[in-house]
């Protein structure tokens, strides 16, 4: 199994704009990526981060980084198996901040020409491709299209039932999940940025309180 992790290095996580500035989104996206890579590393599979731009990262981690500025679908399809002899390829999104090694091992161990961990909104959050003709088509509702594509080529498609793999972090409401179930750097990053859980209205949300940096800046300007 070869694991591919696509990463949008340049303007990541734009839907978090209501709560995070561009530079903060970039730092948070990298924290999520590192948590995903840590979870993959413990499965023992070789990993390639396919980044839209050069990426400086902790060299201690074993993943290789390649730059491919094509759109997601093309960049992934260029790396899928083309024959039955090719190694299977797994594609794991870089914003699966709740990913654990255990969840990934369950995904990798599930047999099938194509195995999908669906996310909310019919997304394809992670998948394994063993069939040489299967190609992805990422966009809204890709899980539905991937089912059709698999059916067209006679590939059997399995799904894996995982809350952790099913939760991608796109919108402000998703930050709750990172603070509750996140594993390492991503929740730490949010706490550093001043986010904490808020249960004041009877449901759990996040609230951003005075963070260390801005409070420091304010003291300096006094």
């Amino acid at each position: 199994m070869h694991v591919v992790v696509p990463f949008a290095a340049e303007t990541p996580k734009t839907r978090l704009a209501p709560v995070l500035a561009p530079e903060e989104r970039s730092v948070f996206a990298r924290a999520m990526l590192e948590d995903v890579l840590t979870a993959i590393e413990a499965t023992g599979h070789e990993t390639t981060v396919v980044s839209t731009a050069p990426l400086e990262r902790d060299a201690a981690r074993s993943a290789t980084v390649v730059v491919d500025d094509r759109p997601l679908t093309a960049a992934v399809n260029a790396r899928l198996p083309t024959s039955r002899e090719d190694e299977p390829v797994a594609v794991v999104m870089a914003d699966l901040a709740l990913t654990t090694t255990e969840a990934l091992e369950r995904l990798f161990a599930t047999g099938g020409d194509v195995v999908i961990a669906p996310g909310r909104g019919a997304g394809t959050n992670a998948l394994v491709v063993r069939h040489p003709e299967f190609r992805v088509d990422y966009h809204g509702g890709s899980y539905l299209d991937h089912r059709e594509i698999a059916a067209e080529i006679g590939a059997d498609l399995e799904t894996i039932d995982s809350f952790r793999l099913g939760t991608d972090v796109d919108e402000p409401a998703d930050l709750v999940e990172v603070l509750v179930h996140g594993t390492d750097r991503a929740p730490a990053c949010l706490r550093d940025l001043g986010f904490e859980l808020d249960t004041s209205d009877g449901r759990v949300g996040v609230v951003r309180v005075e963070d260390a940096v801005s409070s420091e800046r304010r003291s300096e300007s006094k």
Copy 2:
């Protein structure tokens, strides 16, 4: 294992009010309940629906219905084990429309004094209680409180990683998940009410089109 399914029979699913009238919410909530009961039935465990009001339902299904109009937390706590000799009790919410027998079997087979299938927003969507001192406290963020309660009494708490059990159907956006991953009556009910998936803006949502009933009514009034 005894399975308890709490059901709010009177004004269910109020957060779906933007898209469903009260009578429709009631029909949809009952469809979800029946799908949940079908999934439980195949696990072979005895089931009690704890309903806030008398409930007419398909007598062919094996679940017993009892009426208990206390708030959810009290009604559930009255049914949890009080000694180590008592049978373990599982509590499965009636709005887990994506539930399958397989997901429940994974929950029931997980060892631990308390086992939780967390939902979005730190909810406790399903749990198994084997510890005689554990008591629930349902409200926003109950998963966090249940972890604390377990720690206080020295009970070990396990979680189960399930997208199906982690998805409760509360809000209009959740209807997408029912249409994509629902098992039987709940998606059929939504389709009967005129709902279908909508991918026109690049993400998957639901749209309510002309439904059979209203179109019939309109013809009659011509």
